[in-house]
Symmetry: C2
Subunit: 291 residues, 2 copies
């Protein structure tokens, strides 16, 4: 049993708090005063089973070093402010953010901390201020990152339980890169051509498009193309009847995460990437409803 | 009379081609084959007066050094590919892009070229493939940028005509910074609070909010706060009954340019910027229709 802090009252923060509460002592830290009051009074409601979890909750300003692990589940752009607080605490840190932009923040500001990176395959949707629907059960992948990357992640093994299984990986940066790889190929193609994930395997033209796009993405991320293409084929096959999150966002007239995925790659690239740019522009036009 | 190339078939590219065509020899270069065919056949239609401009048009792959000036009016993320072609041409370049991300591209890849930066205050909306509505007449501000910044911009003075008045400025980087300054303060506040530009002056609470946000933005951009606040007050007063572009985007359920404005500042900042982050998150939530 660990004494754990979780920072962030979004879908992943709430879900993680519920999943860990059974076997650990969890304190949830949040920014929003209204959300704080509701969770203090009613706890977190986990749907669809409608189970109620009474969780210790605190305002984020009160975070202390009185924990064995701090899980940071805020959006990447909030780290910039949060890092100042975390810097002063000598506690291992586990980061759950989309994309890769948080790596530079960790590398620069928290170089002397014990830091881990996680990707979460659980599906979660926030409902109101204190509800979360667990829409899909998946792995939590955790890898050490930074100067401590060669240490054995004992604390992570202590974190893992039956209700919170963890896959321990070697290389945090690679873990994130491989997630960006999938998101940068399957998401834009399914969104632009309005198809389910499996079409990348069954439609010869989209198969070719996906391969060309994957080749550019692998080059930008300095990953091996054949290995990554095999991973994309596996995932598209396993999720062939699913709609990608970017396709759903476009279908529902919402903004997508294209800036954090393809936009990130455009900034990173040092050689020409015409396919990435074409898909970036196509998604931007679909988002804005341009002709 | 100059022999000018304009690259880009968006609203600004089409409008600039029409405005310059009267006094210069203009060739418009575009990427899209379908648009190329329509413009070659029908020219550009400038609305609301519905005047037809027959313009020389070419596919962008055919761009040559046979011009005295190349005006680049493509989106910032397209520069990455285009720059490879421009690098080989020994022709002065004039860049019209939103935001500031193109500065690093110019600085790194085109250091030996004569380069200029422009901001366009004209309003323009693209209609179909070859139409453009001139929605507002404004200045075109041009400043030298890069190693040639101390040269006298004679070519720019030759570019200016009665139908294309130009304000020549000293410092390209400052020109863009001051535009980002305005966009980073007036746009988010009017979009979040659903008010017209003038409310920043008349509503005491929004006045205070705008001031605090402006202080952070000025700090990130290393601009003088008092000077910039005076500019914001002047512009909000001059446009007091207008809706900002970000407010209009939110009202119409479209994605905004918040990533290129506040997102850019978040990446740039090296000290805490809680207001910028709050407004970034608020706009992101409004875009995605989160609770």
């Amino acid at each position: 049993m660990l004494n754990i802090a979780i920072i962030g009252g979004g879908a992943i923060g709430l879900l993680t708090a519920c999943l860990l509460e059974k076997d650990h002592h969890v304190t949830l830290y949040i920014r929003d005063k209204q959300q704080y009051k509701v969770i203090e009074k009613e706890g977190i409601i986990c749907l669809p089973v409608k189970k109620r979890y009474p969780i210790s909750v605190q305002m984020i300003s009160r975070i202390s070093a009185n924990h064995e692990l701090i899980i940071i589940a805020v959006k990447a752009y909030h780290l910039q402010v949060l890092v100042k607080q975390l810097k002063q605490l000598n506690v291992p840190l586990l980061f759950i953010q989309n994309g890769m932009s948080h790596l530079s923040v960790i590398k620069e500001a928290l170089a002397e901390h014990i830091t881990f990176i996680a990707t979460v395959e659980h599906g979660a949707r926030k409902e109101g201020l204190n509800g979360v629907t667990h829409t899909g059960i998946g792995n939590v992948n955790v890898a050490p990152y930074g100067l401590n990357a060669k240490q054995k992640p004992l604390i992570i093994q202590r974190l893992a339980t039956h209700s919170f299984p963890i896959k321990v990986m070697q290389d945090g940066e690679r873990l994130l890169k491989e997630k960006v790889m999938i998101n940068a190929v399957i998401n834009p193609i399914t969104a632009v051509y309005q198809v389910r994930n499996g079409a990348i395997l069954t439609d010869p033209r989209l198969h070719e498009e996906a391969k060309n796009l994957a080749a550019e993405v692998a080059r930008v991320l300095a990953l091996n193309f054949n290995e990554q293409w095999q991973r994309i084929v596996n995932i598209a096959s396993r999720t062939s009847r699913n709609d990608s999150s970017m396709k759903v966002d476009i279908d529902q007239g919402r903004c997508t995460e294209v800036d954090g995925i393809l936009g990130y790659l455009i900034n990173l690239a040092s050689s020409p990437i015409p396919k990435i740019i074409d898909y970036y522009q196509a998604i931007k036009e679909m988002e804005r409803g341009d002709q």
